[in-house]
């Protein structure tokens, strides 16, 4: 995957603001491969993947302007991911890498139901784990953060991440298991209901 410079992104956004059709060509040329990769991680049908990427490009066209994202790449990829997840659930796809990675992350969940007292506490504190996502990620090293996001946000397979990083799959699994344990400990520390007990 090529690195896209900040200047390139700004130029594409300017084209979008100018309502130039060239904007979508450039967007597709620069981020199309990445977008298809994300869609493929979530979906099992090539036609669905392509449709998803096209829908995402239309969504970009329709939302910029008025939006002016700081990171066009993250913005575009986020749309691709959300559309892919929606399409996955609609189409009842088989088990894709998206489901594999998501289930892996959810395997951290508690094995017993929360008590009434815990539920009441949770509701009172309004503590939801999503509010801690960026705080948790900010505490990780850059490498670990990238591994975490590649596995659970981009939904890359271990084999793909191994190819990208040069790490062995075994090392990768060990590191990601440690990251999950770190996440669990972090959330427990924050007192997020349901995570502070095994």
């Amino acid at each position: 995957m090529r690195q896209i410079s900040e200047t390139d992104d700004k130029a594409i956004i300017e084209l979008l603001f100018a309502r130039s059709g060239k904007a979508l060509d450039v967007l597709g040329a620069k981020y199309g491969k990445l977008a298809r990769h994300i869609a493929a991680n979530h979906l099992s049908d090539a036609r669905d993947e392509e449709e998803c990427v096209n829908d995402a490009m239309m969504a970009v066209w329709n939302s910029i302007p008025p939006n002016r994202p700081d990171s066009l790449m993250a913005y575009f990829c986020g749309i691709v991911r959300n559309l892919s997840i929606k399409k996955y659930h609609r189409a009842e796809n088989g088990k894709t890498e998206y489901i594999a990675s998501f289930e892996e992350l959810c395997s951290l969940e508690r094995e017993t139901a929360p008590t009434a007292e815990e539920t009441a506490l949770k509701n009172a504190d309004n503590k939801v784990i999503s509010s801690y996502a960026n705080e948790f990620l900010s505490k990780l090293s850059k490498e670990n953060r990238v591994l975490f996001i590649r596995r659970f946000w981009y939904c890359d397979s271990y084999a793909d991440i191994a190819k990208m990083t040069g790490l062995s799959e075994g090392t990768l699994r060990t590191r990601i298991n440690r990251l999950k344990a770190q996440m669990k400990a972090f959330l427990a520390e924050k007192g997020v209901t349901g995570w502070n007990r095994e």
Partner: protein, 249 residues
């Protein structure tokens, strides 16, 4: 009921997890967009470091090989240890004792001429009058050595090396007394210090470590004899010692 609660909990947790992933900041998504950049840089650093280490190892090995060759091919120079502080008496007379010493400019020849070559710490310098047979008795300097490493010959923990004659300027009274006790000179004849007719000679000091080059005679294992007065001891860090050790291998 229990099962129903479990289902609710799982659903809630997955929903929260989805929210967790949705909340991830765009800068982290972008940062993770190019993992090769982050990880390959590290891999490249590791590869460069490994290559540098390999080059260093080869250089060290090559240097070692070259050094060995240099040490084997060089001739022995005329340096010798000169560590012993000397103090001469005003009334002493110094009498040279003739000897026929062979010198060894080639380290290979010196090693071949020695029966024993060892690294050791000089623990004592003393004098003894020894019987040479045929009623011939001579004053000897006795060097006592605690052997640390044997390069040639059979190791003994303690070796005594003898060199005929004394040492002008070192424990002169002791030399004189030994000569008088042995009846080699009269007490009132004045101080006579006999020394081997060889100049220069190794002046080695107690407490120092040297590489010793000696001949051990099976007929007289009590003492090792010096190879000659100026090549029997070497500073272990000297080029001469390095050459001799290389030829011992």
């Amino acid at each position: 009921m229990e099962q129903g609660m479990k289902q609710d909990t799982e659903h809630l947790t997955k929903k929260e997890m989805e929210q967790f992933l949705d909340e991830i900041d765009d800068r982290y998504i972008e940062e993770a967009g190019n993992p090769e950049k982050i990880f390959l840089r590290r891999t490249q650093i590791i590869r460069i470091a490994a290559a540098a280490a390999a080059v260093l190892i080869v250089a060290v090995l090559a240097t070692g090989v070259i050094r060995k060759q240099i040490l084997r091919n060089r001739k022995l120079d005329s340096t010798y240890p000169n560590d012993l502080p000397l103090s001469y008496s005003e009334n002493a007379r110094y009498m040279p004792m003739n000897g026929d010493w062979q010198g060894y400019p080639e380290p290979e020849d010196l090693v071949n001429a020695c029966s024993d070559i060892y690294l050791g710490k000089l623990t004592d310098i003393s004098y003894e009058v020894l019987d040479e047979g045929n009623d011939k008795r001579i004053l000897y300097t006795i060097y006592t050595v605690s052997v640390e490493k044997q390069y040639k010959g059979e190791k003994q923990d303690i070796c005594r090396i003898r060199l005929y004659g004394g040492i002008p300027g070192y424990k002169e009274d002791e030399q004189y007394e030994k000569m008088v006790e042995a009846g080699l000179i009269e007490r009132d004849s004045g101080m006579m210090i006999y020394y081997p007719c060889s100049n220069p000679r190794c002046n080695i000091a107690v407490g120092n470590t040297y590489l010793f080059c000696v001949k051990r005679h099976s007929g007289n294992p009590t003492f090792d004899g010096v190879i000659n007065p100026y090549q029997f001891a070497h500073d272990p860090d000297s080029a001469n010692a390095g050459s001799i050790i290389e030829w011992c291998k």
